[in-house]
Subunit: 296 residues, 4 copies
Amino acid sequence: MHIGFLGLGNMGGPMARNLLKAGHSLTVFDPFPQAVAALVEAGASAADSPAAVAKARVEVIITMLPTAEHVKQVYRGKDGLLANIGPGVLLIDSSTIDPLSTREVAKYALAQGNPMLDAPVSGGTGGAAAGTLTFMVGGPDSVFDQALPILSAMGKNIVHCGAAGNGQVAKIANNMLLGISMVGVAEAMALGVALGMEAKVLAGIINTSSGRCWSSEVNNPFPGVLENAPASRGYSGGFGSDLMLKDLGLATEAARHARQPVALGAVAQQLYQTFSLQGNGGLDFSAIIQLFRGEA
Amino acid sequence: MHIGFLGLGNMGGPMARNLLKAGHSLTVFDPFPQAVAALVEAGASAADSPAAVAKARVEVIITMLPTAEHVKQVYRGKDGLLANIGPGVLLIDSSTIDPLSTREVAKYALAQGNPMLDAPVSGGTGGAAAGTLTFMVGGPDSVFDQALPILSAMGKNIVHCGAAGNGQVAKIANNMLLGISMVGVAEAMALGVALGMEAKVLAGIINTSSGRCWSSEVNNPFPGVLENAPASRGYSGGFGSDLMLKDLGLATEAARHARQPVALGAVAQQLYQTFSLQGNGGLDFSAIIQLFRGEA
Amino acid sequence: MHIGFLGLGNMGGPMARNLLKAGHSLTVFDPFPQAVAALVEAGASAADSPAAVAKARVEVIITMLPTAEHVKQVYRGKDGLLANIGPGVLLIDSSTIDPLSTREVAKYALAQGNPMLDAPVSGGTGGAAAGTLTFMVGGPDSVFDQALPILSAMGKNIVHCGAAGNGQVAKIANNMLLGISMVGVAEAMALGVALGMEAKVLAGIINTSSGRCWSSEVNNPFPGVLENAPASRGYSGGFGSDLMLKDLGLATEAARHARQPVALGAVAQQLYQTFSLQGNGGLDFSAIIQLFRGEA
Amino acid sequence: MHIGFLGLGNMGGPMARNLLKAGHSLTVFDPFPQAVAALVEAGASAADSPAAVAKARVEVIITMLPTAEHVKQVYRGKDGLLANIGPGVLLIDSSTIDPLSTREVAKYALAQGNPMLDAPVSGGTGGAAAGTLTFMVGGPDSVFDQALPILSAMGKNIVHCGAAGNGQVAKIANNMLLGISMVGVAEAMALGVALGMEAKVLAGIINTSSGRCWSSEVNNPFPGVLENAPASRGYSGGFGSDLMLKDLGLATEAARHARQPVALGAVAQQLYQTFSLQGNGGLDFSAIIQLFRGEA
């Protein structure tokens, strides 16, 4: 198929490459010429604006953008996608943004004859490169079915979450819980060690008890507990604290609009904001344990 | 062996029965005569005070008491255990109390020649009856080895957590994390549903993603997600909210003495305290989701 | 002067009346015909759209609207104010909205030759009727001077807070602190009474000590402490809990964009959200004490 | 009168001096010989143990000790006060400790014929030296009347708070609110400045609005707002962050025993614990603003 792809950053770049590998032809856009050049070298055609992508007679357009503002501008701006595509072109937005903005854009797209899916991902840059991302997808059944083969070229776990916006809802609900769990594990490990336990012994007990969770088993924040976790390599790599902060912000802001209390989510957000203000936003989000050990 | 057992409540009663079943002879004490009578009927001998148990030439004494105050009084009171046993009697306290009190009592016991273990349990009344409890044990290696066959008559997972007090440390660190996780799952589920997702779909996504944890997989707080969880039977049975509140209190209080911050642990404690004040302390601790759904 | 006034609700209505009393001529708009009719009866002219107000050759336009969305639409919509006024018309927005939106609208207004002030108020419906509001004003010195006589007809304390948007900043910073203080007083009073003190005695001590604040001295949340406070009349009247919730939401959202932690502000927001979800949003914001006394 | 005084630290030392100045004769004890020597030089007699003070035929004994453990040991230990005084000796404990411990000790004292008051103070080392402390006093009316002239030699504001323990209740309720207010002011000032306001202008608005409180008016945490506040001299002097942390710990612990939620109190405690862990416990408690400005 002929696919348009906008947003060729750390995530979008490798995702686009996997589409090329799967035999699709791509027309790509990114404000950074180097990002475009790298994809062109890999076989894609370059476009110099969102409008140019839209006019390139693509059948599908995929976007991977940093914020809701970018999404709104790229889709609904004067030189944006919606003003320049014909009806029937399938739109897939893989950006992580708030569900309200997603639903607003999808409504406009649908009104002019373009089915749209929100399909945020998890799995990080590693998953993007390996084509093993999880896609959380919101939109009608038939549109989901249409998109499935394309998404399968970039990920291995494609989950239909319900109507438009529900991909975003699933993503921010899961990631809010992830942020809370990580802080919880950080507090439990720091407390246990402060009271005299060995970190590995405590982690072993937690991982076979009711406290077990992904954050304790797979990304334990205490250095030395897991050899391959970011905690054992200075918190480099992994999912950055500032990205967790962004997702917690999306969750609490969506909760505000839904008039839904999220007490621990809000406190976790404040803790990550404090940690970021101290200059640690680039560290893996498990580094939040430093705030509880006097190291931040 | 001849074993003394003090504290024959919902947990202690069935634990003592399992010791009888394993062929041990028991001398038991409890301030409630009915509790004593039930054990006597099952084959135990009755004693009318802690001192009387101590003087009954038991080789091992096990205690299962509600608070640190009870433990201090039973062990160190005038008519208590320590003043009335000979050297060499092995002491095992299975109460869940703060590690500082545990260590203080163990120090006194050891000073007069009585090795002591702290061995709090998890697994609830079901595990106590079935003999499948987990024991988290603090104390010297040799004493742990000595106690292992006895504990194995009451539980199936006997974990050595390190020196005296570490059984309590492991218990409260794990349960603090459990409380935080449960509130986190409650917030994430309530948020997702408020934003338009189906509860089962959301739970399915969380359970295969980075938000997965015991509280979402085994005891999901949203009614209808898990057929056999307390949430699907009006939050009856399970681990009561007031018990979770007690453990969160032990954790934050131990953290205070260790000068260790536990931000989410403290907020979770306040949420359970608020929930309890509204008259819900008897519901399973997953019922905290009602606070986030306007039902509490 | 000839003044346009948009938004004739509980606050805007009495404010507009005070302008009439001061001798100004008014052209007014509100989507509710009854609100318009009442002002017309008092001497104002009616307009049937924002554009109609703009075209009525007014020298000044004042807006008092519920949300940033309303402000953006009224000022920047197709049939809005900016598209229909001539240069030089002075714009004053007394809505309480986020500073970012305020600054964005003011920038557009200025670019087309219309000086604009943000001038949110405090003092409630009582102050609006009596003409004793406090105005917190953001914008250039010369524009502030120009607006001063007009604002003085509606309030008695007109404070210049600095450049555009700073009126909103002052309002949300003050009100976030107010919300935190109120919850703090509620917790301190509830704790003292739970521990055996008489509420009036405790309030007296706080009010002559370092805990003293507006919330303890003027609007003490404990029933019976202050005869004329909302707490002594079932929490009716006063500043509604849902209005406090709105302001706490504006504060935390502005903090998020500024990457500024506000830990207690965020928790206070969650407490008011929980209280609102329980159906108490219409009570005076001092009623939050019910959440701490098992009455909510 | 002949008065015994135990605990001659930063607070107790100057308080004892003021009693000497008022013409009382003193027998004093402190574990630090230098502290005793200084008072002997000023005219007091030295005792080498609490028991020795008790046996010195004093009519009144005043204690000023750091923790509840110290109070319990000094009063109820084998060589303590209660075991060695005759009936009728008036006991006044000015330590800041939890109300439960206070009430327990007072009950024992009364049972053996010694009336006892809890009389914690506020006003800091400056107030102790100047004799201008505030005393918050718990105990029976007649005993309060008896103590009044003695307390008046050390303070100028002597408040009767009700029955035994209520002095402590008033102190911790007020100081919990003080800690919450200070963090609230810190957040509001940091937020306002981050959003573009001048600190002095914002403080001025808050101090004439509903956000006003002791922490904003008298001890504003933003450097430069108040010339004579600790914030304008590197946060030296004043009331140390670790002392605030201690009082917040007493408040939340008393709340736990009373089953009383104190959400913001608990979060404020965690913030001060985090700040202390970063090595800032010696700074005035207004320095907590550094945690919100990326300076801690």
